[in-house]
């Protein structure tokens, strides 16, 4: 038995959360869900919890978890020649039949390879005999095509049952992959060739039963879809320490830079009645003192007022906190005003993106700034600690005036609300499947110039805190998210570098070195294109996706 008190945050490695599921592996198919980030971040991910609970619902499946270890625990494993193991039964990852990875954040791709090497599992798909690595949550899977045996494109709840069926029926890797590739949503990269010929990606099937295009799948009835009612409750604080209750998935808006609306398309809602039932059940099972209503845009949820009324009445007595993120500024003034000060909420978030009306229209963000100012006085009555604001810069059509407008806007808002403002300024990244996937990413120098203009226009007040996303990190996100299969060698090299330097994945120079060593011209990934991308073999089911394919 390892003495866990040697490590910082020993709770991360124990696996004794309330409602944890521990089953013997005897006569069961063992699957481990691995999150390529820390325990605290991974445990805040709803998808991981849904799939953990859904897989464990089958008696003949045992599903466990593993996370990216802290530095001290990592060193302990290396020094003692131990392999990374799961939380629940401390089984080495190599002894599972399937490892599932969540790839929702590009900079974690390196951690994924690192986890495999820490578990002493071959990194390349072709080098693994039986174990299957399943990847999900990813938009463009191509840069990981050499390492992952099968990706699930879309919402895995829709494919879980058929996945389990295949695992039951077939026992070796080859027949499992062959069976999976015939099922909608499963993408086995080894069954396709993807080549760049005369500046155009050509996708072909190598295995004739594979599907092309690969169609993204989704849950058709969100109201009836599985929810993890036996809520895994850590005995310690995690990043978002509240239970997120999904009220809707997808987004009816069309902000052009947004990838989430494509990843969660189409817009679906759970009935208020269902939401309440889920909350009551989870409270009974977990005793959690904080809940939040989760959706991309809660203002668009059709029963929002009704839902807040019911929940507020129930929660008051039990002193349960309720948070409502992702509100639109105009709703504060409108239908939600009377409800909002019922909520125990200490901050308000407004994704405003641009301080200029016409640019905002251009990028599809529907926010009425005039209304926000009209609301200012009301906001003052809410007992808020601060307002969080999100801006985005780096659009081609943006002018110097637009950039300077950010500072003027913040000054005015600060004056009128007397509240401190936490401002995030992000750089526009043309992500796959967003309406602007065909835009060119602004170059580093241009972005730095733009940031300087913004900075010079910012009011110097202590009550305004600004954080600007590092330009190099945004460019890196763009490169990795848009890369093709050749890029896998770069990810491999950076992951090797991270054995000696834990911060390698965040270090631009290390990436740059790896790219030049592997003769990768990242500019090619970032230039404007029309319909020809490494991810063009995927059909998201979005109306514009179908249109393009027929052009």
């Amino acid at each position: 038995m390892i003495d866990f008190k040697l490590f910082q945050h020993p709770q991360r490695y124990i696996g004794n959360e309330w409602n944890v599921i521990k089953k013997s592996h005897n006569k069961r198919i063992p699957i481990c869900l691995c999150y390529p980030d820390s325990y605290e971040i991974g445990m805040s991910n709803l998808g991981l919890r849904i799939i953990y609970s859904l897989l464990n619902d089958s008696d003949d499946i045992v599903c466990e978890r593993a996370f990216f270890p802290g530095e001290d625990f990592n060193n302990f494993l290396l020094n003692n020649n131990q392999k990374l193991f799961s939380l629940e039964t401390k089984t080495p990852l190599a002894n599972f039949e399937v490892l599932g990875f969540n790839f929702n954040y590009e900079l974690n791709f390196v951690n994924f390879l690192y986890i495999l090497s820490l578990a002493k599992i071959p990194l390349f798909s072709r080098a693994r005999k039986d174990l299957i690595v399943l990847g999900g949550g990813i938009a463009n899977p191509e840069s990981l095509a050499d390492f992952v045996d099968v990706f699930y494109i879309g919402e895995f709840e829709a494919g879980t049952a058929s996945f389990i069926e295949v695992l039951r029926k077939y026992k070796d890797k080859k027949s499992r992959l062959e069976a999976l590739c015939e099922i909608e949503g499963f993408y086995v990269p080894a069954f396709y060739s993807a080549e760049l010929k005369n500046d155009k990606y050509e996708f072909n099937k190598i295995y004739s039963y594979a599907k092309l295009p690969v169609k993204r799948t989704y849950v058709s009835n969100l109201d009836k879809s599985h929810y993890p009612l036996k809520w895994l409750t850590p005995h310690t604080a995690i990043v978002h320490d509240r239970v997120p209750i999904e009220i809707a998935r997808g987004c009816p808006n069309r902000c052009t830079f947004c990838q989430a609306r494509a990843m969660y398309y189409p817009y679906r809602e759970k009935k208020a009645e269902t939401v309440c039932r889920i909350i009551r059940e989870i409270y009974k099972n977990s005793g959690y003192e904080n809940f939040s209503l989760l959706s991309l845009s809660s203002s668009d949820y059709s029963q929002i007022e009704e839902l807040i009324d019911i929940l507020f009445a129930e929660f008051k007595q039990k002193r349960i906190g309720l948070a409502l993120p992702s509100l639109r500024a105009d709703d504060i003034l409108g239908k939600l005003y009377s409800k909002l000060h019922l909520l125990r909420k200490t901050s308000l978030t407004v994704a405003i993106e641009s301080a200029n009306d016409s640019l905002r229209n251009h990028i599809g963000k529907k926010i009425d700034i005039k209304k926000l100012f009209e609301t200012a006085r009301l906001i003052r009555t809410f007992n808020l600690k601060h307002i969080k604001l999100y801006f985005m810069i780096g659009f081609k059509e943006e002018t110097e005036e637009d950039l300077r407008a950010i500072g003027l806007f913040l000054e005015k808002l600060n004056q009128e609300t007397h509240l401190s403002l936490n401002v995030s300024i992000n750089v526009f990244v043309p992500k796959p499947f967003s309406l602007r996937e065909d835009a060119t990413m602004a170059e580093k120098d241009t972005l730095l110039d733009k940031i300087n203009i913004v900075k010079n226009g910012l009011p110097k007040r202590r009550s305004i805190n600004i954080s600007i996303s590092p330009v190099e990190k945004s460019i890196l996100e763009a490169i990795i998210s848009r890369a093709d299969r050749k890029f896998s060698s770069v990810i491999l090299d950076v992951s090797k570098a991270s054995c000696n330097n834990r911060n390698a994945a965040g270090n631009w120079l290390i990436w740059q070195e790896a790219m030049s060593k592997n003769h990768i011209d990242c500019a090619a990934y970032l230039k404007a294109e029309t319909i020809n991308f490494p991810w063009s073999f995927i059909n998201t089911g979005l109306p514009e996706c179908n249109l393009k394919k027929h052009e």
């Binding site: 866990f4 004794n16 005995h235 604080a237 005793g287």
Partner: protein
């Protein structure tokens, strides 16, 4: 607000995996266990009310130990009721050794 409150003191033992949890964590674990047990809770006042609890001392991380915990309730419940209901909701490694008063 002058809500009535009723106190029960108990001795709780921390052992096995629970030795790795800090004193702050312990408060959280007990609060959630009490909520699950559906006992008539007494809350702290203020903007972010919590279930009221107090501890005689802080237990060290990584070693077994016992400590006195004071529970506060909004209704008078018997020590037996507390013991029976809470026992079912405590994770392995936390035990109610005895009720003091």
């Amino acid at each position: 607000m002058n809500e009535q409150r009723f106190l029960i003191k108990a001795v709780i033992k921390k052992s096995d995996e629970m030795i790795y949890f800090s004193q702050i964590d312990l408060g959280l674990v007990l609060e959630r266990a009490l909520r699950r047990a559906e006992l008539p809770l007494y809350f702290t006042q203020g903007f972010r009310p919590r279930v009221k609890l107090s501890f005689s001392r802080a237990l060290k991380l990584g070693v077994e130990g016992e400590e006195e915990v004071t529970f506060y309730f909004s209704k008078n419940i018997t020590p037996q009721e507390l013991q029976e209901k809470l026992k079912k909701q405590l994770p392995h490694g936390l035990t109610i050794l005895k009720i003091i008063e």
